[in-house]
């Protein structure tokens, strides 16, 4: 069985969903009530891949909402309790969706392996970042040409280049595509310099300089609320892949030759009978989902019960190849511009 740990995009959205599911009393509660609400296994699903394999899965809502981010202990508890529930339910491989994996990493939850009487078995969890990175790379390769951008001469900026997903994207673009030039953007200079030497190339730039030069921008960093982007300083056309979480890039730019694509989103080849993807605000909630969630499904399809994506900077090209091939084999395609989905055939 595969598992997905997710959460609503806001407190208001969480309340609406709870009402819809018939959890009226909790829905009416204030944020403090939600802070004390335990994780819920909200639904079971069965999915059959085009390869003829059927798997079962469960969606766990951690009852976390982004408004709890400033409450460090609450956020930590939500993630750990949801993971404990997944393990207790005997789920083989569970993806940490949305803020879950970000909290896990930034709040250093590896130090909290014991939750009450349960010792968390890290092998049962995956951040899903390998699949996310592969999907983002495919989105670059599939969509740049449709805007008339020739990747061979294009400059591709990766914002958040030293992160887990960002560095994997850089590795893939360097090794597997002939991009004209890679522009590396991140906050800390030393990891940037290390990445540049690992890649054997790429140019380190400040964000504003990179934006004005780039034909393609891959965003895999959390964006400061205060960040403003001057549309006039951007190249046109420009493909922007919004691979961060939450996805809010289209509220800052878009239009006038700037094309924003939600990054790291995949679509399954048939409807999945679940209701929970609506809370992730997907356009087609019956088929679309975060690539990180799909990674748990892929690992279950492949009977690969291991923490495939774990820790920082462990994503290799081989791992991306493996998960990419599985993604195609089991009927997933990447989200593309103009809502026209093209099969993600490598």
């Amino acid at each position: 069985m595969f598992g997905l740990i997710g959460h609503s995009t806001s407190f208001e959205a969480a309340r609406r969903k709870a009402l819809e599911l018939g959890f009226d009393h909790i829905a009416e509660g204030d944020l403090d009530v939600w802070c004390s609400a335990p994780p819920q296994l909200v639904e079971h699903v069965e999915v059959t891949s085009p390869a003829g394999i059927t798997i079962e899965g469960a969606y766990i809502d951690s009852c976390f909402v982004p408004e709890m981010l400033s409450r460090f202990k609450t956020a930590r508890r939500k993630v750990l309790n949801a993971m404990e529930l997944a393990q207790k339910k005997g789920i083989n491989i569970t993806a940490l969706g949305g803020f879950t994996s970000i909290i896990f990493e930034n709040f250093n939850l590896l130090q909290h392996q014991t939750v009450r009487s349960t010792t968390l078995d890290w092998q049962r969890f995956t951040t899903g970042n390998t699949h996310t990175a592969w999907v983002i790379c495919r989105q670059v390769e599939n969509n740049a040409p449709s805007l008339g951008i020739d990747l061979k001469t294009a400059k591709v900026a990766v914002v958040g280049a030293t992160g887990d997903i960002g560095s994997a994207v850089c590795r893939w673009l360097t090794a597997r595509t002939n991009v004209g030039e890679l522009l590396l953007v991140a906050r800390q200079p030393q990891p940037l310099a290390d990445l540049q030497s690992e890649l054997g190339g790429g140019r380190i730039l400040a964000l504003s300089d990179a934006l004005s030069e780039a034909d393609v921008v891959v965003w895999v960093a959390s964006m400061p609320r205060t960040l403003e982007i001057d549309n006039n300083s951007l190249k046109k056309p420009c493909l922007m892949i919004d691979g961060g979480y939450p996805k809010n890039l289209d509220s800052k730019v878009a239009g006038g030759g700037i094309h924003v694509l939600k990054g790291g989103i995949v679509e399954f080849c048939r409807d999945i009978g679940w209701s929970m993807m609506e809370i992730a605000e997907m356009d087609k909630p019956q088929r679309q989902m975060f690539a990180c969630f799909a990674e748990a499904m892929l690992l279950e399809f492949e009977r690969c019960h291991t923490n495939f994506s774990w820790g920082r900077n462990n994503i290799t090209l081989e791992k991306m190849d493996f998960i990419g091939a599985a993604s195609v084999r089991h009927g997933f395609s990447t989200l593309n511009l103009n809502k026209n989905l093209q099969a993600a055939v490598a």
């Binding site: 609400a37 202990k73 939450p246």
Partner: protein, 239 residues
């Protein structure tokens, strides 16, 4: 939309530090918490013995559970003594008063299901969650004792769970009723203890969530659906 901010997080992480067990504020709060625990174990002992009169064929097993509770009571009495704290027993008697009253009424009426819900589910889940949260912030002596106790309490929760599971259909309606009448009492007990618990570095939010996890898990094992459970648990979340 808030985003993660690493420096802020690292500042907040310092909060897990142990309290100073020697301050008068700590000892004052401990006098009530310790009393609650001692009284709770005593009542648990008495309740299991009483349950033996309602389920005579299991009287022996229940008496074994009761004996464990007495052992716990002695352990916790030693924890108070170790810190030089006099447990405030009159406070604890009042604290358990309403729940104790409900148990006695159910006992007189021969309501096994209600008695099991109060003692083997609610009180045990309450104890398990509180002990788990206490262990990381306890003094070394109490920590050792509590770690031993918490293992036993799962046996007790399990006892009630198994009995109710085996009699689920016949118990269902009474469980709904008993939950409605008694879960709010647990919630107000949590409120009453929150300020003292905070002095011991145990947070109300944690106590409620952990209690609900243990309680919901038991209800789930017994046979209730997620939706039933969420409805039942709501009585603990909203005041």
């Amino acid at each position: 939309m808030p985003t993660l901010n690493a420096p802020e997080v690292s500042v907040l992480e310092g909060h897990d530090a142990l309290p100073d067990f020697t301050t008068s504020a700590y000892k004052d709060a401990y006098s009530r918490i310790n009393a609650i625990v001692i009284e709770g174990e005593q009542e648990a002992h008495d309740n299991y013995i009483s349950l033996g009169t309602l389920i005579p064929e299991q009287a022996e097993e229940l008496s074994r559970l009761a004996k464990m509770e007495m052992k716990h009571m002695k352990g916790f009495t030693a924890c108070g003594r170790n810190l030089g704290v006099q447990a405030d027993m009159p406070f604890a008697k009042d604290f358990f008063g309403p729940l104790h009253g409900n148990f006695q009424i159910a006992l007189r009426e021969g309501k096994v299901v209600t008695c099991l819900l109060i003692q083997a589910l609610l009180i045990e889940a309450f104890a398990i969650s509180a002990y788990h949260i206490y262990i990381p912030v306890a003094d070394p002596f109490a920590r050792k004792i509590t770690e031993g106790v918490v293992k036993d309490e799962y046996t007790h929760l399990n006892y009630g769970q198994e009995w109710l599971k085996a009699n689920y259909e016949a118990s269902r309606d009474e469980l709904f009723e008993a939950n409605k009448a008694n879960l709010p009492l647990i919630r107000s007990m949590l409120e009453d203890v929150a300020a003292d618990a905070a002095v011991l570095h145990m947070e109300k939010e944690d106590l409620i969530e952990d209690f609900l996890i243990a309680y919901q898990e038991a209800l789930n094992e017994i046979g209730f659906t997620s939706r039933d459970i969420a409805k039942m648990a709501a009585a603990a979340l909203s005041i």
